[in-house]
Amino acid sequence: MFYRENGQFKTSYKADQQAFAIPQDRWAIVAIVAFAFIGVPLLVDEYMFRAILVPFLILSLAALGVNILVGYCGQITLGAGASMAVGAYAAYNFMVRIDGMPALAAILLGGLMAALAGIVFGAPSLRVRGLYLAVATLAAQFFWDWAFLRIKWFTNDSSSGSVSVPDINLLGWTINSPTDKYLFCLGVLVVFSVMAKNLLRGNMGRQWMAIRDMDVAATVIGIRPMYAKLTAFAVSSFYLGVAGALWGFVNLGSWEPAAFSIDRSLQLLFMVIIGGMGAISGSFFGAAFIVILPIFLNQMLPLIGGLFGLEVSIALVSHVEFIIFGSLIVFFLIVEPHGIARLWSTGREKLRLWPFPH
């Protein structure tokens, strides 16, 4: 099993433009996806599904959305949570207000609404950029936080903005067991990831990256910043909206606006940073890391404390979690600003050249 490209020749541009041009990569991806669909359900217990796998899948999707905007189009957002909220509440409204609305359609429509909101709140990006834009996106965050808490119409007049939805029914398949939820989310994630990959390797992705890397100069080669930036906001918000609807419908079942607070926005941003900006795989790495870390710490800290005869309170665990979390972010930014995905690809590059160092 050598990781080598020697002897592989492309004879057409078509072959050269495949999503994964190296056959070894292609087979690895197929194997991973197959394992996720078939192997995982056979191996894993219910707790794993509920606590880790389902949140991981949905947050991966959300992180992918953030990555499109931040990593590929270079527009920093601190309002990702708000897009998720719009998606979740919009999907909820489609469900309760329209009789016989299929859940999947409601979720997609929720994503569409989030995309529209994303375009409106992304509009300042045409005038301001960088740090100013980051702060401008906070406006969206606080506005929607407030709207879902105070405007009763959005939550069908429920108190404190909390709403709940029944189990999803998809063409006769009722999604209620953890395994069902897992498979459903996995399916959505795979489809959306493939579409993201397609967009990013084509003309759209190139336009976004041109805006990210050269902004003013991009207009000179015929890229309209308005179009490129707003499509990035729309696509990103669409992904986030769908993820938000899934988070509400599948993972939580019932939720309040606090589920999509600024903490969620920051969490998503961290996933992208730690995972790797401008790399699709980075979204998965980052989501996995951030879903697993608190669970890991919750289990380990009392054990470690026990070794030294210390009582570790729940409050202390949450404080230590803060500290470790923050330190890791700084650590990653220092060691590899491009995240786990870059560490991964550097490793792969070395493998290709192995045993020669350069």
Binding site: V128, V135, L138, A139, F143, W146, V216, V220, V320, G326
Partner: protein, 309 residues
């Protein structure tokens, strides 16, 4: 009319406090090009230190004098903020020389988390009070003009005065001293500053020390008003629109932006809030800042950005 003026003055006073936090942002950004998201966490950290030590020190030394205890606690808190500044430079910033603004911003988010965690681990996570003997009683003003006059908090007045003093001394430091000049040079171009022998590490420690002291002052004032608790770290989020409105690099911008936001918030909450269910001040501030941004993308006092290709 008297009610309107009272609201207005109330807005101005709370705006002054926003300015104080915003000032911390502007200082660090101006001098090191870092948009310090951890400023709120630093305010909380500093306030916690101040609150706890002013409680602990009398206990340890068995003394009663509030003034001396506060003075000692203040000194200890300053020292702690210096250590924090030094550690931040040592452990994080020095490895991030020459990185993009976004990377630095996210690093400070990480620092904010660490500070929040450490602060609560050491100092506890309850609500504490700071009592530096600020007069709480209200003052009546303009009784001759309006019936019943206008109610003003004396505390707010003193706070505004302190903020003004801090700003003046900082401006002098920045414009007139060799260190201030070096700080501004570093803000412009890290590598060029390095190439002519300005030691980045030392400059950054100084900047963060200054920001730490600003945070401490803000923390004491806010803390003595509202009590010291975790939510204090979110005042950074309240101060962000101020920074954006005033321009990231402008000290006067931070002040005037703070006043505008303070007044806008209060007026909107009082006159607009009842119609839409209340609680609008936080996003209203952001919207206000956004509207300004649409007309002046660099903020009120920020330097104009000219795109060059």
């Amino acid at each position: 009319m008297a009610f309107f003026l009272e609201t207005l003055l109330g807005g101005l006073m709370s705006g002054m406090l926003y300015s104080l936090v915003a000032l911390g942002f502007v200082l660090i950004f101006k001098a090191s090009g870092v948009f310090n998201f951890a400023q709120g966490a630093m305010v909380l950290f500093a306030a916690l230190a101040m609150a706890r030590f002013s409680e602990w020190i009398p206990g340890w030394m068995g003394m009663e004098n509030l003034f001396v205890a506060n003075l000692l606690a203040f000194t200890v808190a300053v020292a702690i903020m210096f250590v924090v500044a030094w550690l931040i430079e040592r452990l994080a910033l020095r490895y991030l020389v020459n990185q993009e603004g976004a990377t630095l911003l996210m690093a400070t988010l990480g620092i904010a988390y660490v500070l929040d965690g450490i602060g609560q681990t050491i100092f506890g996570s309850d609500i504490y009070k700071i009592d530096v003997g600020m007069p709480k009683e209200p003052v009546m003003m303009l009784e001759s003009v309006f019936d019943g006059g206008i109610l003003i908090n004396k505390e707010d007045f003193i706070a505004a005065l302190i903020a003004a003093l801090l700003v003046i001394s900082l401006s002098i430091f920045f414009q007139k001293t060799a260190t201030g000049r070096a700080l501004r040079a570093v803000a412009d171009d890290h590598q060029a500053a390095q190439s002519i022998g300005i030691p980045l590490d030392r400059i950054w420690v100084i900047v963060w020390c200054v920001a730490g002291i600003t945070a401490l002052v803000a923390g004491i004032i806010w803390g003595s008003k509202l009590g010291v608790q975790f939510s204090l770290s979110t005042i950074a989020l309240r101060a962000l629109p101020v920074v954006i409105l005033g321009g990231l690099t402008s000290v006067p911008g931070a002040i005037i932006g703070g006043l505008i936001i303070g007044v806008g918030e209060k007026l909107s909450e009082v006159y607009l809030g009842p119609y839409v269910g209340g609680g609008i001040e936080i996003w209203f501030a952001y919207m206000l800042a956004l509207v300004f941004l649409l007309f002046r993308p660099q903020g009120l006092f920020g330097e104009k950005i000219i795109d060059r290709v």
